[in-house]
């Protein structure tokens, strides 16, 4: 076991995949200098500027070029710098990358990975803080991954690079510095397989990305109240692991879906609705959703905090559910 950061784990994942497969290359702004967060540090020394390629500030072209390069048999890893900037490449992601394989009748695949540093972090404010995973999960053709742990920062990026579909890989900015002990030699995770982050009996909390850690905090507080929460870290939002979620909810009879993104239209709504439709007769209480208010993320910390679902709210929701049935 080696103490490693989420950022370092992602760096290792890319380096290992580039060593394993010489069709893998990365492109994005400032990669030669290590990337804006340092997640590419040193890679240009090992792989050279052709495979760790700088790019002009042309998000649409970065993404579109990756589509063309992927069709031609390479595996581009696209860096979007902040998930917010990927919006400049919406056509390339949604109309081109996601659709090419289908609309061309399976003739052309688009095995690209788009890394999108996501989420609120240190007063980054409205245009540098969003969590837009629901948009991508909504688009047929895209795979969406969102690692919460250091091990997954590595295992899911490796899986994304090996995946033959376009993958939107959401790396939470507030987790870059997060450290954990991880085993050496972590391999690619299966895509679409959730992880039980904590076992419990009374209530299931389905969550992903940084919110997994908030949920763990809530679960610890709930132990003192005699409530045992099970936390499902989805890891992959599309495809999401329905079996794992259903197995847990069948056991507990209660479900909370919590995410950092704005609650309205968030991906939690899809999961909550599915649980409601399919497990109605096994629920002891209505499914609860927790997410951000429908406000942009603020700069000033007391306002920025308003965006975040605090651990206490998750614990309260769990208590309220546990009190029923």
């Amino acid at each position: 076991m080696v103490k490693t950061s989420y950022l370092e784990a992602s760096r290792q994942a890319l380096a290992e995949e580039m060593r394993r497969d010489d069709t893998v290359w990365a492109l994005g702004e400032d990669l030669g200098r290590g990337g804006v967060f340092g997640q590419y540090k040193g890679l240009v020394d090992e792989f050279g500027p052709e495979r760790i390629s700088d790019a002009p500030i042309s998000e649409a072209c970065i993404a579109g070029a990756a589509v063309g390069a992927a069709m031609m048999g390479t595996r581009p890893v696209v860096e979007m710098r902040f998930s917010d900037f990927a919006l400049c490449a919406t056509d390339e992601i949604v109309n081109q990358a996601a659709k090419a394989r289908f609309m061309f009748g399976g003739q052309l695949g688009v095995p690209l990975v788009m890394r999108q540093p996501t989420g609120a972090w240190r007063s980054s404010a409205a245009q540098h803080s969003q969590s837009l995973e629901a948009w991508y999960a909504h688009i047929p053709g895209l795979v969406v991954t969102a690692p919460a742990t250091v091990a997954d920062a590595k295992a899911l990026l490796k899986a994304a690079i090996r995946c033959d579909d376009p993958v939107i890989h959401l790396e939470h900015k507030d987790l870059w510095a997060f450290e954990e002990e991880i085993p050496a030699g972590i391999d690619a995770a299966p895509l679409g397989a959730a992880r039980i982050a904590r076992e419990g009996e009374d209530v299931t909390i389905v969550t992903w990305s940084k919110m997994v850690h908030t949920a763990l905090e809530a679960a610890n507080a709930l132990t003192d109240k005699g409530i045992s929460a099970e936390i499902i870290d989805l890891r992959t939002l599309w495809p999401w692991d329905r079996e794992a979620v259903y197995a847990s909810v069948r056991k507990t009879g209660r479900a909370i879906v919590a995410h950092e993104a704005v609650l309205v239209g968030g991906f939690g709504g899809e999961i909550a609705a599915r649980i409601g439709e399919d497990l109605y007769d096994q629920l002891k209480a209505p499914v609860r959703r927790l997410g951000a208010p429908r406000i942009p993320v603020s700069y000033a910390p007391p306002l920025e905090r308003e965006y975040h679902v605090p651990a206490e709210r998750i614990a309260e929701a769990a208590q309220a559910l546990a009190a029923r049935g």
């Binding site: 070029a65 589509v67 063309g68 390479t74 061309f104 003739q107």
Partner: protein
């Protein structure tokens, strides 16, 4: 306008241009059948005919090798056909039938034929430009010798991806031939009215990309310029741009009566029909009018047969609505 002088051009070779004449007719005949298909309800979505622009398709795509890569537009039947796609598969695609290039999932605007290096028409104006430079980037990374040709309309140069893509091609010195097929219209708008400055060539030159303009209805001239330019691109000279000036003789789509331009303008443009012009050149070189007429008939018969066979083709199986979406995860099921 005729061009008998063209018969003395450096690149002129009567036998070759006789065949290129037939190729122009193949496009014309294919699109006439497609328009008939639209009228008869066999073509289901929008089609964008390139009637009057055939010399661009033949002059550009006729100079590409089979393993070269082509990115085309919504007005791409001619490009696709000349790159080597089978017309029956194309017509089946336009009719939404099984056996279409894309299994009936794409239609006219979203047609591709990977087998002949045609990586797609595109339903989004200018979206093919970044894809083209990315394909060229991959060619560079893989140290291959083929090149990429990216065709777009005069309207596309006002979208951001045009700037981003040309800049990219130049910065990375990629083997791309950009062709702006300037038919003077973007849908119902005269492109000049919505375009500042001197257009595609000037914009390319501002980025250090050498650019040339050519009479896009003069196949001999297009062929010659494309040949010279491709030699530069193939030799590692970096990206180049060609503006081929032409005129869209039909409406924007099969359904557009094009009432936004005077009939006299269109009538004058018909006199400049690239097919008629090449016939005059061929005649000056000793190819008889009868011979030309026979070539036209041959193409028309080919495409009439294509029409018959495509209209008899079955629909794709309904289950195909669910295939080729993505590998990862269980196949999608009908939720209703």
């Amino acid at each position: 306008m005729t061009q008998p002088d063209a018969a003395t051009a450096r690149n002129f070779d009567a036998a070759r241009f006789r065949d290129l004449y037939r190729q122009m007719w193949r496009i014309r005949a294919f699109e006439e059948q497609a328009l008939r298909g639209a009228k008869e309800g066999l073509v289901l979505g929008a089609i964008h005919p390139s009637i009057g622009q055939e010399a661009v398709a033949v002059g550009v795509c006729g100079r590409l090798n089979r393993d070269d890569i082509l990115l085309s537009t919504h007005r791409g039947h001619g490009h696709t056909l000349i790159k080597g796609a089978a017309p029956e598969a194309m017509m089946r695609e336009l009719f939404g039938r099984d056996g279409g290039n894309c299994g009936g999932k794409g239609g006219s605007m979203h047609i591709a034929d990977a087998g002949v290096g045609m990586l797609g028409a595109n339903g989004v104006v200018a979206a093919n430009i970044p894809i083209a430079v990315g394909a060229a980037h991959a060619i560079r990374l893989r140290k291959e010798s083929r090149i990429v040709c990216c065709i777009f309309g005069d309207g596309a140069i006002n979208r951001g991806p045009f700037l981003e893509g040309l800049n990219w091609a130049k910065v990375f010195d990629l083997p791309v031939l950009f062709v702006c097929e300037d038919n003077r219209f973007a849908a119902t708008t005269r492109t000049a009215a919505m375009t500042a400055g001197e257009g595609a060539a000037a914009r390319a030159e501002a980025l250090g990309i050498p650019a040339d303009s050519v009479d896009g209805n003069d196949l001999v001239a297009v062929d010659e310029l494309v040949d010279e330019t491709l030699q530069e691109v193939r030799a590692g000279g970096g990206p180049r741009l060609i503006v081929a000036r032409t005129y869209r003789l039909t409406g924007h789509t099969g359904a557009d009566p094009a009432t936004y331009r005077p009939e006299s303008e269109v009538a004058t443009a018909w006199e400049d029909d690239p097919i008629v012009r090449l016939a005059a050149t061929l005649e000056a070189a000793g190819v008889s009018q009868d011979d030309c007429a026979a070539l036209a008939r041959q193409a028309q018969e080919e495409m009439a047969g294509v029409f018959e066979r495509a209209s008899a083709a079955p629909w794709p199986p309904v289950g195909h609505a669910y295939t080729d979406v993505q590998d990862t995860g269980s196949p999608e099921e009908r939720p209703w």
